[in-house]
């Protein structure tokens, strides 16, 4: 074992039928450091973590923990917990029907009986000390997702772990909460805990991490000290592309400018929905790319969902090409040429057990109607075309979509909506949880679509990405539209100020 290392993984191999998910990967974590694990989708980060936590069985390798001579045998999450390895996953892995306190202590307390009073008291103390806005006795399902995530972290913190794995913990937290989380991470670091931090947010990596390990295609690219690896270099290591190529892509990000006097494709007047947004106005013209921005929970998604008919609309008017239309369901919207790529890919996007082909043709199929199935040969041709066009990495068109990596799933869903040939395309967080390369491809695609005369609304929490693609931004706060920025006003500072508004901090 290396000096100061708290965890050492050597020569990790993991094979799935047909593919090597991990090939001879080494990983070392030192006590009291925050170690970023970076890589594109399908690079093997998740697999590595699942091997470490005993969800998957490794095919070959050795794992050592501080103070043990023999390699560690981890066959289940319980084994990992016992060895001092705790994990907080991107998706909440708590039980929604239990109380907050129970979720923190279940499965790891000594003794056969639950001491409710003691447990609630302990839990409340810990929650308060970590500043988590939850009550120990409340049912977990009644907490927001962000709070549930924090409860999961509280659980891990309380377990006195030596190794804490945070798998994309920040993807559902807003800035304030992220700051709180980072403070917590630094606290733990000072106590000598080794933290493995998996994230797609580069800013966050440079804010808290000490060291970076980069994976690509299931293989180790290298381990770097953060000071030695500037951002651009990190990105190029992750993508396996040279710097020149990258800056090329960056430079192409030029927002499209459109004639502001032309007839709007979509004109929304005082629309409101049952999801609790205040009435809002919105227009988009042919070939325009605009966006909604705002903090998490500010009502960005709810606005587009109202336009798409996904939430129950309670008032207001929608005009398409100047004609008033009634959109009561997603099907109505689709018939009017609106496509909506939903925020939650797993829940609202993919149809997991169906093949990539069926997932791609789904929207077109629905548009064609119940009694006109697309012939098999045609469907195959469509699938082939879009798999090639978007570079979807899949074994075949018949592979169930759930076995693809996140980014490729997203591309397949994008293919679905492109195939439906919309006049207006709504992309709600299309780049969440996917790798840098795919992110850029999607941005390029958006601009290309706009140049072809389609209108696109782009929603993202990453304002710099939005700035490069959108020519107009609708800013939201507390479920109401608080501003619209375009032209020279489109700067990071201005956006931030509009989002923050009159609130005193």
């Amino acid at each position: 074992m290396q000096e100061g290392a708290v965890l050492e993984m050597r020569g990790i191999d993991k094979r799935f039928p047909g593919v090597y998910a991990l090939q001879h990967v080494d990983f070392t974590l030192r006590a009291g450091e925050i170690h970023a694990l970076m890589g594109e989708n399908g690079a093997g980060k998740s697999t590595l973590i699942k091997v470490l936590t005993g969800v998957y069985q490794k095919d070959a390798s050795e794992i050592f923990m501080q103070g043990t001579q023999k390699p560690l045998v981890i066959k289940s999450p319980q084994d990992a917990q016992k060895a001092g390895i705790s994990t907080v996953y991107q998706e909440i892995t708590l039980c929604p029907n239990l109380t907050v306190a129970e979720n923190m202590y279940i499965g790891r307390t000594a003794g056969a009986l639950t001491k409710w009073k003691q447990m609630n008291k302990d839990a409340q103390t810990l929650l308060t000390s970590l500043g988590i806005p939850a009550q120990a006795t409340q049912q977990l399902a009644s907490c927001s997702i962000a709070v549930q995530q924090m409860v999961a972290i509280a659980r891990a913190v309380d377990m006195d772990c030596k190794v804490l794995i945070l798998d994309e913990p920040t993807s559902s937290l807003d800035e304030q909460e992220v700051a709180k989380l980072f403070k917590l991470m630094l606290d733990l670091k000072a106590r000598g805990v080794g933290i493995i931090f998996v994230t797609h947010f580069l800013d966050q990596v440079y804010e808290v991490c000490d060291r970076i390990t980069v994976l690509r295609d299931g293989q180790l690219v290298g381990e770097y000290i953060i000071e030695d690896l500037p951002r651009v270099k990190l990105v190029s290591k992750m993508m396996g592309k040279e710097l020149g190529e990258l800056s090329d892509i960056e430079a192409k990000g030029e927002a499209v400018h459109v004639d502001t006097k032309s007839m709007p494709v979509i004109e929304v007047n005082q629309l409101e929905s049952a999801a609790g947004i205040k009435p809002f106005d919105f227009t988009i013209r042919k070939g325009e790319v605009n966006g909604f921005t705002g903090l998490l929970g500010s009502g960005r998604s709810e606005c587009v969902r109202a336009i798409y008919g996904a939430d129950h609309v309670t008032g207001g008017k929608v005009k398409i090409n100047g004609k008033e239309v009634k959109i009561k369901s997603p099907l109505d919207a689709m018939k009017h040429g609106i496509s909506y790529l939903a925020e939650d890919r797993k829940q609202d996007g993919i149809v997991g057990d169906l093949s990539v082909r069926e997932n791609i043709i789904l929207a077109l199929q629905v548009l064609m109607g119940f009694f006109k199935p697309i012939p098999r040969a045609k469907a195959e041709a469509f699938a082939k075309e879009y798999i090639k066009l978007l570079g979807i990495r899949t074994a075949s068109a018949d592979t169930p979509i759930k076995s693809l990596s996140g980014g490729n799933q997203q591309k397949a869903i994008l293919a679905r909506w492109l195939l439906a040939n919309p006049i207006y395309l709504i992309l709600d967080e299309p780049t969440r949880g996917i790798d840098v390369g795919t992110k850029m491809e999607i941005q390029k695609l958006v601009l290309k679509l706009a140049s072809e005369g389609k209108s696109v609304t782009f929603i993202s929490s990453e304002t710099d990405k939005m700035l490069r693609t959108c020519s107009r931004l609708v800013v939201m706060r507390d479920r109401r539209v608080v501003g619209e920025l375009s032209g020279d006003d489109l700067t990071q500072d201005k956006i931030m100020m509009t989002i923050a508004g009159g609130e005193k901090k």
């Binding site: 909506y340 939903a342 829940q347 149809v351 169906l354 789904l362 199929q365 629905v366 109607g369 199935p373």
Partner: protein, 371 residues
């Protein structure tokens, strides 16, 4: 030389293993394997099982008889139900346990229409086709009731259909004022037995017709795609313009139609009805057929041919057991043992283990042989 030989053998074994694995992983493998197993068992135990003879029935018409004919004939209702049950299972991720009870209702309605106010009429009080259509409508209404509970009130299917399961046979009795209607007209019996001059039992034709219809429906509409989508991910189906509630509702109405057809055959077989016994436990058999077909009872992807084959396997099993003089009331025990064996063998966990074992043993064997 020896090394290359060895290598070839190894790759050969691997190929065979892969082929085996592909076959074992095909969904229809389960019912086919079960069917073959049962047929082989019968072949060894008593080949006369396969004998088909042309005899004359009491009316003097030529009819085919033999165990295989019995299997095909008696499986008809089950096959028809399995079609509807497969769709319901796929879309709603649950099963309708009220089909037995609604068969009683449908049968009761048919008889009521045919008998009019008198429970033992000398002549039919309405054309058979009218009675059948009214039976269909009523049965579909009950299906719709289940559908509403499941699709719009979002109640788990097994629980929602528990209502009609409990009340169905009582409703059936109530429809005929708890009397025992008997149809004396011979033509009504054609549908459950034989049409004079045709030696093959009519239910076989009806079942075949149902299979053709569902095959056409699946081919020329998107029923299959929509039900699977809804069953796998209702949220994204909705955002893709499919209304999950409508689709779920639709599958229950379709099952209602299947129930009506099955109920019609059932009452036609005996020209009468016994409310508490007719189609008893058939819901269990229908669910079993779906499961035996390798379809997940939790919904999602389905294979209709597999389900239908599953239904025939179950009837084959029943008939085989009867042939070996198992008392009808003890039949369930034997059935249960066979079912458990089949289900255990087809369980993914077990199959993976067996496959792993096979790949472990196979190469060694080859090496030994080579030596």
């Amino acid at each position: 030389m020896a090394a290359t030989n060895n290598l070839q053998q190894k790759t050969g074994a691997k190929k065979f293993g892969a082929m085996l694995s592909a076959l074992v992983h095909r969904q229809i493998f389960i019912p086919i394997a079960a069917l073959l197993l049962l047929l082989i068992f019968n072949l060894i135990a008593d080949p006369s099982f396969f004998a088909i003879t042309l005899a004359q029935n009491s009316a003097g018409d030529p009819v085919l008889s033999g165990y295989l004919i019995t299997v095909l004939d008696n499986a008809s209702e089950l096959v028809i139900l399995a079609i509807g049950m497969t769709l319901v299972t796929a879309a709603s991720g649950g099963q309708d346990i009220s089909v037995g009870a609604t068969i009683a209702i449908a049968g009761s309605v048919v008889l009521r229409v045919l008998c009019g106010t008198n429970s033992r009429p000398d002549t039919l009080q309405a054309p058979i086709i009218v009675a059948f259509l009214i039976g269909c409508v009523v049965s579909m209404l009950f299906g719709a009731f289940n559908g509403v509970m499941v699709a719009f009130f979002k109640i788990q299917p097994m629980v929602a259909t528990l209502i009609l399961f409990t009340a169905g046979r009582s409703i059936a009795a109530w429809i005929n004022n708890n009397e025992l209607p008997i149809i004396s007209d011979a033509s009504f019996g054609y549908f459950g037995n034989f049409i004079p001059g045709i030696p093959v039992p009519t239910p076989i034709f009806i079942a075949a017709l149902c299979m053709i219809i569902i095959a056409l429906v699946l081919k020329f509409t998107n029923l299959g795609l929509y039900t699977q989508c809804v069953g796998i991910n209702a949220h994204s189906s909705r955002l893709n313009g499919i209304n999950p509630a409508t689709i779920k509702f639709l599958t229950y109405v379709i099952l209602g139609l299947c129930v009506a057809v099955a109920g019609f055959i059932k009452v036609s077989r005996f020209s009468t009805i016994n409310y508490s016994v007719v189609a008893k436990d058939i819901e269990m058999d229908a669910i079993l057929a779906v499961a035996l077909g390798g379809n997940a009872l939790s919904g999602g992807k389905f294979n209709m041919a597999s389900s239908i084959l599953g239904a025939y396997v179950i009837q084959l099993l029943t008939t085989t057991l009867f042939k070996f003089n198992v008392v009808s009331s003890a039949l369930p025990a034997y059935k249960a043992v066979v079912v458990i064996i089949l289900v255990v063998l087809s369980a993914p966990v077990v199959r993976e283990k067996m496959l792993a074992l096979w790949t472990k043993i196979a190469p060694k064997k080859r090496v030994k042989e080579a030596a």
